[in-house]
Amino acid sequence: MFAEALASFLILTGGAFVLLGSIGLVRLPDVFGRLHGPTKATTLGVGAIVAASSIASFELTGNISLKEISVLLFLFITAPVSAHLIAKAALAKRSDGAPASDSQG
């Protein structure tokens, strides 16, 4: 019962942060700003959902499932790499190529 409540809370929290990441993707003005949205959603959002999955599977089956840790690990390794590549591509597309101090991409 307590585990179910905790898992539900984590799923709702995680879902809320993934939603906020998507809202950020839509609302932020330029490519660099938009990059913030999805890379952020993976951290706390997917982190909380994965924790909920771990708790729920322990509650339902009694087995301690550690697959979730590897899901999180892969996301935490790949998210910065893809964000970095997109950022570098966006930088290279700018005419001067150098980071400017304004936000206009």
Partner: protein, 159 residues
């Protein structure tokens, strides 16, 4: 390069891959352990040209402390960025920030860059490592901030 370094170029990575495989497969039977060890030995050997140097030490205490610092920062910054995203987006003044590095080690710089990206509100744009020049290595990060004052998401530059 000794035979041992040739066969086992990255001992820390070998252990990490083996443990990760066992986590992924979800059972610790003989066959899975054998497969885990095979992958742990083969992958570092095949990818050794891409590794800048051999990782010799692994300070578990420092890594654990860094893990909790980063976890705390991610939670705090997520809330801050959530407020920025839901607020008036015209008030957002994002900036490119140079983050000077205390390290010349590309591996450490990459870890710091990944942490900056994973922390909401900041994004690593470019890692500029000048190996020959003294202390010119720097990160270019993109910081998202709504007006001065809400820069809680600023990354810790010391690792």
């Amino acid at each position: 390069m000794t035979l041992r370094e040739r066969l086992l170029p990255q001992p820390v990575v070998t252990i990490a891959i083996a443990v990760l495989w066992l986590l992924l497969s979800g059972d610790v039977s003989g066959g899975q352990v054998l497969l885990a060890l095979t992958l742990g030995l083969a992958i570092p050997m095949l990818t050794s040209p891409f590794w800048p140097r051999r990782l010799k030490t692994f300070r578990a205490g420092a890594a654990l402390r860094l893990f909790f610092v980063v976890l705390y920062d991610i939670v705090v910054a997520n809330v801050t960025v959530a407020r920025v995203v839901l607020g008036d987006t015209r008030a957002i003044q994002s900036q490119f920030v140079d983050v000077p590095l205390d390290t010349r080690d590309p591996f450490v710089a990459t870890i710091l860059g990944s942490i900056i990206t994973l922390t909401p509100g900041t994004l690593t744009m470019d890692i500029d490592m000048d190996q020959s020049g003294a202390r010119r290595a720097c990160h270019d990060a993109h910081a998202l901030a709504a007006r001065a004052g809400t820069d809680d998401a600023r990354p810790h530059s010391g690792t």
